[in-house]
Amino acid sequence: MGVLLLVPFALTTYQSFTQDNGLEPPTFIGLDNYIALMRDAGFLHSLLNTVLWTVGAILLPAGVGLAIATFTQHLRFGKIFQLVFIVPYALSGVATGTIWSFLLSTEGPINTVLAGVGLGSLAQGWLLTWPVNTLVMIGVYVWQVSGVAVILFLVGLNAVPKETIEAGQLDGAKGPALFWQIIFPQLRAITVVVIGISLTNGLRVFDLIWVLTGGGPGQVSEALAVTMYRRTFVLGQYGVGSAVAVVLTIIVVVTSWIYLRAQMPRRSR
């Protein structure tokens, strides 16, 4: 494992400081790749998309998961509703992309339905313009991954002691107040897990974008994970691609670290 993971990690970092087209031996050029990236409008746009992805991919699945878990927990047919949300989580990014590229195509069911209910003016090529394509893909991602948040929040809700809730009710709390003041704080540990998972996954979404738009049209819907792949393996710019990978890594590690530190002030493992 050390050879297959840690060594490549070090090599990529070194490679990001070199000029390397994969054909001639690499030459060391210091920070030039990074400087070039900072001046590259396409890269900055990709960075912006990554920010959108991260925000959307954290808040929305966590919100959907919490809502569905809360509203179905003690419901008679709750399990059936939960299942509906959990099934897409088992699908791969490629399968999800396949389904939605069909649904979103210009002649696809979504536009047909819109036209059918008299909203034909809203029908459009969903994946053809920015920022619509990125927002739509984030929506697809939410459809795919919210199930895991449902599962985790259910575990958390089941672990809240009955006595705590009863005590809250005795003090006169009910409805939303009971939820936000008594139950939600008890879910803290689970919320940390859900957000933590979403944070790292949202930053590195690759297959969904790859299948739905390929990062296009042009490169407007690229996020860093896609930019890195295209630069390295499509264009053969190993040095630049590695630099993108390093930037992505720094963002992932720093945000996770800040987040985890903020959440676990004292007794970290």
Binding site: I68, V94, A95, T98
Partner: protein, 270 residues
Amino acid sequence: MARLTIRYLLLTLVSAAWLVPLYLLVVNAITPMSDYAGEASWWPGSFGLLENLNVAAEQADIGSGLLNSLLYAVTGGLGAVVFAALASFAVVVMPVKRPALWFWLIYTGTLLPLQIFLPPLFKAYNQTAIYDTQFGLMIIYVAICIPFAHFLIRNYLMTVPEEIAEAAQLDGAGWGRLFFQIHLPLIKASLMAAFVFQFTWIWNDLLFGITLSTSPEIRPVQAALAQLTGGIYSVGPPVALATALVVSIPTLVLFLSAQRFFASSLTMSR
């Protein structure tokens, strides 16, 4: 009462919205290519799933893809679980120096984005001629799955009381016996959970598949599906959707049957 009705109504609406894509997937996957007229089918007609899969098999060799993915997911999952169990045993039960350091060293593998590993792997694979081989993909999948499996198993192993190991050692059990006869049976649940988790992950992976292989006989099935989807209008949506459906069934069954399991191992561990 009224509140409950509203709750059911809202849940039904949202669930319906969530369900429609899955419904359309199934209906259009079984619509025969020959009946497909450029518009989505909303109701199941004649059964053409096999016909569609035939086209997919001809265009993108889905059959090999499925077998390859099965091979990678089983060997990758098993291999990762074995190594992760050994590593966990070493870190938790055996008296190593700096167990926390070892743990973090291994665990870092799950924190870093996979992209950081790819360029040198691609180069190294090219130079050692394991590029585009089944062996090459098997070893990288084992390696990439160890960190998270280690994370799950280690946390579970931490809950096994130390006294058990001490008692066994007093009875003269060596490390090997301790591992195979005492600890392994005790942590069976976490081994299963880790396997399910990593099997699903490998089965669903695209990135390593397309980076480290090209030929249809080696490529995992997600790569084949991505190729079909990329050209969705040349093969027609029913073919791509039929493939997506078949590709999803194994993980769907495995994941849903192991769902409880998965939830408890994941939450206990963080």
